[in-house]
């Protein structure tokens, strides 16, 4: 009977506080849905049989980990808001003579009810929408197979385990909060902690240094390989810096403004500066979190969009010609060409831009104008040497070269010198080429590559300085015709090469855009899905934090604004003051997140170079597009939550 009473009390509390509990419930259902879907995809047996899907599935396993950890954090964090807002109510129970263990019982029941409702709703939604998500994923990774999205017990169990952990943590922290407090404190705690924050110059300066350090690392990173290692250090520094600056830096700055009398004692500044000082103390952490979440969304989505939309660019960078072969020996060159043309005819495509040529490959360290074969520095270059004759058969334009002259091409940046010394042998650079038949000029690349064209074999031998370098023959061509025919050609041609003994014996490797495209679309599509998926999750939690921030501030501010009206502020003035504060506080995190993202551009674009996305404009465009789309969503979130705030303030 008693238990029944507490159950009813708990239930009625949840309903009475629905302005606070409902969003929480929805967030809980939302995260449950996302977790269930991603777990189901990660466990889906059907995916195993699709070619190239193993990687996608391993991405989902990673995603499931991130979502789990994140869900626990977000629920725990928002619960903090809820319980803080309810301390008064709980205090009232205590004053009215309810024992702590009864309060605890009510809280436990509330947690149980809201947990069951949220997770139950989420699982249901997961079963319904999970299938949609799954279809979306399959589309993105370019698979058309109709795979069943089953309702799987293991996925349900795994999802529930995560939320049982989350709600246990929440319950324990709620009970501890109640256990520690005395009735009077419970009653007062909603009013407590309204002191003005102290200025911590130390924290402000540390924040500045930390942010500066993170920015510095991100901006001065030189090579893509370096970018990976540096990225995570930079991220940690920026997160730390953002938190410290939002907490201490903002207050230090505002207090400086307040100290300037002629600035501070103006109607607009007076209210907003003092209001902001007060507000930053309570909300700095929330704002910093929102800012970091925004940045995460922007980074995750813009890089994965860039990857996905850049698949063709990345393939182009890897395959200057659509079909490429590398051979040891000149011998079967003729039959390779014949085979290509025969196969093309069978698949109604035409061979185009046929290029071939023999060259040598080596690594050498470039210091100033000197190439050193034994160098091991970070400045090491991949070098290709070839005679003029090969340059011509590759499709280059013939030029008359002296024995001590070379043509030179670099894929990244300009060489810009008129001499090149190879170990001890000096050559004059007759011309630095802007393009090369089998390479692309890139804005950045994983490997710096140099092509040197010599007058003839003798000149090239001189450059070898008595060493013996690997030689190979490059054959490459494009195909004219439909994509499908070309893809069919490519797999058929590969088989025919393997079947031809003469060719097979000397073939080092062969590859084509058509063979790689599927893998790249699957990989980059998987990344995009994960990026959007996590983006949506971060967005969800962000809106949740914003909502609770608005509600708790609205309740507080309504008292302040009533007072202001009483001492001679018109409704319009009050409205304006509210507006400017709300807008500042709301858009500050977005502005800072956009700044973070801009600063991350160099390091992100270098990381993308690892995936052969070398086009800075492409990446910049994707980033700006993402920022624009995200800002629109953010503004929508603003209007939705600001309504709640205004209603509270002007009631």
């Amino acid at each position: 009977m008693r238990r029944f009473l507490y159950g009813r009390l708990a239930l009625s509390n949840l309903i009475k506080n629905r302005r606070l509990t409902l969003p929480y419930l929805l967030a809980c259902a939302g995260t449950t849905m996302m977790l269930y879907s991603v777990v189901e995809i990660a466990l889906n047996k059907g995916m195993l049989h699709l070619p190239g899907s193993a990687f996608v599935q391993s991405l989902m396993v990673m995603g499931q980990l991130i979502v789990s950890v994140f869900a626990v954090i977000v629920l725990f964090y928002t619960n903090g808001f809820l319980i803080k807002g309810r301390m008064r109510e709980l205090g009232l129970y205590a004053v009215l003579g309810m024992e702590k263990r009864h309060i605890a019982q009510v809280l436990a029941l509330e947690t149980l009810f809201s947990g069951l409702a949220g997770v139950g709703l989420g699982l249901l939604a997961g079963m319904l929408f999970g299938k949609l998500l799954f279809l979306l994923l399959l589309r993105m990774v370019g698979k058309t197979a109709a795979l069943p999205f089953q309702i799987s017990l293991p996925a349900i169990v795994q999802t529930c385990v995560v939320f049982v952990v989350a709600f246990t943590l929440i319950l324990v922290s709620n009970l501890r909060a109640v256990g520690k407090a005395r009735p009077m404190e419970l009653l007062q705690s909603a009013k407590a902690g309204e002191r003005e924050p102290k200025t911590s110059w130390f924290a402000a300066i540390l924040g500045l240094l930390s942010l500066g350090g993170g920015y510095g690392l991100a901006l001065w990173v030189k090579s893509p390989i370096e970018a990976i290692g540096i990225f995570f250090v930079a991220v940690l520094l920026v997160i730390l810096g953002t938190h410290l600056l939002f907490r201490a830096g903002s207050i230090a700055l505002l207090k400086l403004l307040r100290a300037s009398k002629s600035y501070y004692y103006k109607p607009d500044h007076f209210i907003s500066v003092s209001g902001m000082i007060y507000r930053m103390r309570k909300n700095a952490t929330g704002l910093a979190n929102i800012c970091i979440l925004c940045t995460m969304v922007l980074v995750a989505v813009s890089t994965t969009v860039s990857l996905y939309l850049g698949v063709e660019k990345s393939l182009r960078a890897q395959f200057p010609r659509s079909v490429e072969l590398y051979l040891y020996d000149q011998g079967p060159l003729g039959s390779v060409r014949l085979l290509a043309e025969d196969t093309a005819r069978d698949h109604s495509v035409a061979v185009d831009q046929y290029a071939q040529g023999e060259m040598s490959r080596m690594y050498a360290d470039l210091q100033g104008d000197t190439l050193d074969y034994d160098g091991v520095a970070a400045t090491v270059q991949r070098c290709y040497f070839m005679p003029m004759e090969a340059y011509e058969t590759l499709g280059g334009e013939r030029q008359e070269l002296q024995e001590d002259e070379v043509l030179l091409f670099r894929n990244v940046g300009a060489y810009g010198q008129d001499h090149v010394v190879i170990e001890t042998e000096a050559f004059r650079v007759k011309e630095e080429l802007n393009s090369f038949p089998i390479a692309q000029k890139e804005m950045q690349s994983v490997e710096n590559t140099m092509f040197l064209v010599f007058a003839d074999e003798t000149a090239m031998e001189r450059a070898f300085c008595g060493r013996d370098f690997e030689r190979f023959i490059y054959v490459g061509f494009d195909l004219k015709g439909s994509e499908e025919d070309a893809a069919a050609f490519s797999s058929d041609f590969y088989e025919r090469c393997q079947a031809d003994e003469a060719i097979q014996a000397t073939l080092i490797s062969s590859d084509s855009v058509y063979a790689q495209r599927e893998t790249w679309i699957a990989t980059n599509g998987g990344f995009l899905f994960l990026g959007l998926f996590l983006g949506a999750l971060f967005m969800l939690s962000m809106v949740l934090i914003i909502y609770y921030k608005q509600v708790s501030e609205g309740l507080e501010d309504s008292e302040r604004f009533i007072i202001m009206q009483k001492v001679g502020m018109s409704r319009r003035e009050v409205q304006r003051a509210i507006n400017s504060q709300v807008v500042t506080v709301f858009f500050l995190p977005l502005a800072v997140a956009v700044l973070h993202t801009f600063v991350a551009f160099p390091v992100l674009s270098k990381m993308l170079a690892l995936f052969f996305i070398n086009d800075l404009w492409h990446t910049a465009f994707c980033m700006l597009g993402t920022i624009a789309a995200f800002s629109v969503l953010y503004v929508i979130a603003y209007f939705l939550t600001a309504r709640v705030y205004y209603r509270l303030v002007t009631r």
Binding site: E194, R195, E196, K261, S262, Y264, Y265, K266, P267, F270, S274, G275, I277, Y278, R560, I563, M564, Q565, K566, V567, G568, M569, S570, R571, R572, E573
Partner: protein, 253 residues
Amino acid sequence: MAILEVKGLKKTYAARLGGDKVHALTGVSFSVEQGEFVAIMGESGSGKTTLLNIVASFDKPTGGDVLLEGRSILQIPEDRLAAFRREKLGFVFQDFNLLDTFTLRDNIFLPLVLAGKNHVEMARRLTPLADALGIADILGKFPYEVSGGQKQRAAVARALITDPKLLMADEPTGALDSRAATALMQQFERLNREGQTILMVTHSAIAASYAGRVLFIKDGQVFQQIYRAGRDRQKMQQEIADTLLLLSGGGQG
């Protein structure tokens, strides 16, 4: 000359859910002369706050008129009202209504800042006021750092810094202990001697005994008024108490 004239003021609150209409004021008329200290008394729920809120232009009456310096405040357009309040009226509230985000000094400056005064002028006005109210050395503190009496004195300073025609106070001693209440009333008495017109609502006979005239409200009307007329405070307090007794007795009989 009457600085404030209240003529046949009526206020009816719309019916609450299922309840009857509340006739808070049914016809209140009185006037306040320049330099007077008037206290308004009455039982809880008798309409004192309603009356003050209408005089203060926080609320609109259902009927009647309020004239300040001969001009009806009901005719003032909405967008001028805030400025009017700021310039002509000063308020002291029972629960102080100080903003926690401001120091006492900035709380006091608030109406001047809103009026666009510069900070040198504001400081010039504050100095004598803060000295007189004995809060000069706590001006830099925040409301939560000082006592109730100190908060209320800061609120009085805020009400007076604009040099208002009329100082209004709704139960200013209501949240104060008796020592702080006495000190505050002595301040009011002194301010009044220096020429400040004061209209104060209270239910405390002690507080009302500092006034020059006490109005009693009952059933939404002015029931009776008594003048101090040079009597000493003890006598005045006694007469107020007797009238209050009569007031409640009259209700029963």
